[in-house]
């Protein structure tokens, strides 16, 4: 028997690590990977609450999150390939076309 709060705290830890990686990392692929980590942390929260309420709705929501994550990964990686082709770099500090 594990308290549901432990699962939620694990998910909060993973989410915070994802935020930290998102902010610290300078490689655009690694930033994208940390977004996936945050999505996974939220999925764990959904599954824990679905188990707590004995309902299946939370699991349906996780299914939709997975679908959206797959679509997002395909489009995002295509954008990354396109950026690399024109700028020859993956460093986010040098991808500043919209900044100035």
């Amino acid at each position: 028997m594990v308290p549901t709060a432990y699962y939620l705290i694990l998910a909060a830890m993973l989410f915070s690590i994802g935020i930290g990686a998102f902010l610290i990392k300078r490689n655009v692929i690694t930033i994208f990977i940390s977004i996936e980590l945050m999505l996974n942390a939220v999925n764990l929260t959904f599954v824990a609450f679905a188990h707590m309420w004995h309902q299946v709705n939370g699991q349906i929501f996780v299914f939709f999150v997975m679908v959206v994550a797959a679509a997002e990964a395909a489009v995002g990686l295509a954008i990354i390939i396109s950026i690399f082709r024109t700028r020859r770099t993956l460093n986010v500090d040098e991808i500043n076309l919209m900044k100035s």
Partner: protein, 168 residues
Amino acid sequence: MQLALFIIFGALALGGALNLLFQRHPINSALSLVVVMMSLAVLYWSLGAEFLAAAQVIVYSGAIMVLFVFVIMLLNAGEEEHTTGSRAAYTVGIPGAAAIFCLLSFVFLSERNALSTSAIGGDLGNGVDNIAAVSAMLFTKQLLPFEVTSILILVAILGAVVLARKEL
């Protein structure tokens, strides 16, 4: 039993996430994310979500991470340079992330009695297994969102093909 599973695979997920944070090469980060996803699949299974555990292994650690590793190898991404980065990220972002974690933990721990405990496996009540319950919900009440996701996937495929074309 469930506490042991939770401690082992929770620690594995946490270690993988920290390794993702501290590795400098993108391929190491991607592979440590695979560790996180596989441990989360075990945790889903222990929470009674067998279908999602299988989908996590197949979709996330199978399809999405293979896509990531392909792109990392295709672009020949090396170690990231050590730049100072944005100062706002360090001064506001990291304490902000720590504050979010502390707030969430405080709320969860102060409400831990209301949140109750979870036994291993699913108990959805009226004696159906997890995948039957998920599919019954998905193909009756949630049929329209389910069909809309197929259009979303189609649009994503077309968008990826258009964006990754040679002449853009």
